[in-house]
């Protein structure tokens, strides 16, 4: 008899691993039966998780940390034993803003694009109508990546430009109607905006942080203890799904699955673009190949590095205008659970990093991380501004970014 597990999801391409683990039957091989509850807002995904409608959820990594720290509602401890993927989001701007930025139909260089954006943002601000960017949630990697990039280009978020929350399904319409001038959302919503002629993709979040942490599999910490065997089964099934997902031979099949109404409910062709790292950036434009736009499998991409949680905490403190608190930092760090990931995959051939933390952004050239079998190659992991994040110097990092 298979063990059941209910998983909350939003219609996004980066929910791919649980969906494919289910659709290809990898879960059954692990004695697991997954069911999905599909919603249209993160608030509802979170409510269902906290009140037991779902056992696990596809969740924004910063939201898992904010919930644990009690930002916006009473604190409830969440646990993230698996990173569902790295990056996969993009900055899309209205055609008008693209013209003002003199983009050339390619992904821009983050520094140069930021310098031009600074000029436009200043003009707009002086004219009394600040540029407005939409993000999916205030506690999202989209918000933190966008803010990191803007601030790094000397554009002050919330002062020089406005940042508002917008539900991804409405972002294309909002761009077209001029309600927002740009957005940072996941796929398929950027491609849909391009397809509708509403805007142009000018930057991938992978250009801001080459290996930026995105969604996580989140559970209530208590629930994780109760159903740990099922969670470990799910982790193994999702690693198999990841191996399947990154094989170009499977792109068509997997795009067709993810495109279905019960999952992303999006055109097959648009889903295929995202999962193959091949995007169309401008309406009617050519296909552009941007390797590692989404990063779901290699280099132990799903390993929940504690240092990733700590970086997210540093951004939460930064943008919620809090003070560094060692106790909160500790609770935030403990949301990521490499111990569960290791325990799930012990005894498989999967490489398991022996360290739980690493200096983020330090890898500008290939680096080897040791695992139980020797080592794995970690390629480029830079931040666009060349800075690095040393989790041992968390407080200093937070102080320096004020």
């Amino acid at each position: 008899m298979n063990q059941r597990l209910t998983n909350g999801l939003l219609p996004l391409v980066d929910e791919c691993l649980p969906i494919l683990a289910h659709d290809h039957g990898f879960e059954e091989d692990e004695g697991l039966e997954l069911t999905f509850v599909r919603d249209v807002s993160w608030a509802t995904v979170l409510d269902r998780l906290l009140y037991g409608h779902s056992d696990a959820a596809h969740l924004l990594a910063p939201l898992a940390i904010a919930t644990t720290l009690g930002r916006g509602r009473p604190a409830q401890s969440l646990a993230a034993p698996f990173v569902l993927g790295l990056n996969g989001n993009a900055v899309t701007v209205s055609n008008e803003l693209a013209n003002a930025l003199a983009t050339d139909g390619e992904l821009g260089d983050p520094q140069q694009l930021g310098a031009r954006l600074k000029v436009v943002a200043q003009e707009k601000r002086d004219a009394g109508r600040r540029l407005r960017f939409g993000v999916v949630h205030r506690y999202s990697s989209h918000s933190y990546m966008l803010r990191y990039w803007l601030a790094g280009c000397d554009i002050i978020p919330d002062e020089d430009v406005e940042i508002v929350t917008i539900a991804p399904p409405f972002s294309a319409d909002a761009l077209k109607a001029g309600e927002i001038d740009g957005s940072c959302v996941g796929e398929p919503w950027n491609s849909i905006a391009v397809e509708n002629g509403a805007g142009q993709i000018v930057l991938a979040t992978a250009q801001i942080w080459r290996r930026g942490v995105e969604k996580v599999l989140a559970l209530r910490a208590e629930r994780l203890d109760e159903i740990r065997p099922q969670v470990e089964s799910l982790i193994r099934a999702m690693r198999r799904a990841g191996e399947h997902f990154v094989d170009p031979a499977n792109w068509d099949t997997n795009a067709a699955i993810l495109a279905r109404p019960e999952y992303c409910d999006a055109p097959h062709q648009l889903v295929r673009r995202a999962i193959s790292d091949r995007l169309v950036l401008t309406p009617g434009g050519p296909v552009r190949d941007y390797p590692d736009f989404m990063f779901q499998y290699h280099e132990a991409a799903n390993f929940p590095w504690v240092s990733q949680a700590e970086w997210l905490y540093s951004q939460l403190v930064r943008w919620d205008r809090l003070e560094f608190d060692p106790d909160e930092a500790e609770r935030a760090a403990r949301v990521f659970r490499p111990d569960i990931y290791r325990s799930a995959l012990a005894g498989t051939n999967d490489p398991l990093p022996t360290a739980s933390s690493k200096v983020e952004g330090s890898v500008s050239q290939a680096l080897y991380a040791s695992t139980q079998y020797g080592s794995i190659l970690l390629e480029n992991n830079t931040f666009f501004d060349g800075k690095s994040f040393d989790p041992d110097a968390l407080e200093a990092y937070i102080t320096a970014q004020k």
Partner: protein, 192 residues
């Protein structure tokens, strides 16, 4: 007490509104479109906001409650820790509740109860409607199959129905499934 009902389902919103109107001292505002949602909320300055869980604007509204200075009193998700069960029940019913800071749980409870009841009643109505529509569609399929049999075999209507029923019984399937097979086969033969 000023109450805003945010629900993209206009029929459900009006059913809730009707229920709450029966309670004393409630001034009710119903918002069924996302256009200008935040501006309307600012204008209304509600004490309580009820919103359906399936509303795509929830994150937008929560963000607004969390950071906006347009409202005199901060609004937050109603999570009374002393009464976690009622919140779980409201999530079960499909409604989220936001209240202004300082409003006592005692004043909120009757409103919450009424809203939940109405949500649940609406869900039941919808299920009944779906079942009724399903039955109607089944009837149409069976009628179509009967007509096909009558025409192709030259039998009477009762005889056509008997044939469908017997086939269903002998193959341990529902009559509508047999009828559906007949209709599909007929369409495939291109003889419609």
């Amino acid at each position: 007490m000023r109450i805003a009902i945010v629900d993209e389902s206009a029929p459900r919103a009006s059913i809730i509104e009707e229920g709450l109107k029966a309670l004393d001292g409630c001034e009710i505002f119903t918002l069924t479109t996302r256009d200008g949602l935040l501006a309307r909320i600012a204008e209304i300055a509600p004490d309580i906001v009820f919103m359906d869980l399936g509303n795509p604007s929830r994150d937008v509204l929560e963000e607004y409650f969390a950071v906006s200075r347009a409202l005199d009193h901060p609004i937050a998700m109603f999570v009374d820790e002393s009464d976690d069960d009622s919140i779980a029940a409201s999530i079960d019913a499909g409604v989220s509740t936001y209240v202004v800071d300082g409003l006592s749980a005692k004043r909120i409870q009757p409103l919450l109860r009424m809203t939940m009841q109405r949500f649940e009643a609406f869900a039941r109505l919808e299920a009944e409607l779906a079942a009724a529509q399903g039955k109607l569609a089944e009837r149409e399929t069976i009628d179509k199959a009967k007509r096909i049999l009558m025409k192709s075999k030259g039998v009477s209507e009762p005889a056509a129905y008997t044939e469908l029923r017997q086939k269903a019984m002998s193959s341990n399937r529902r009559i509508v499934d047999i009828a559906d097979a007949v209709v599909t086969a007929h369409e495939l033969m291109g003889d419609t």
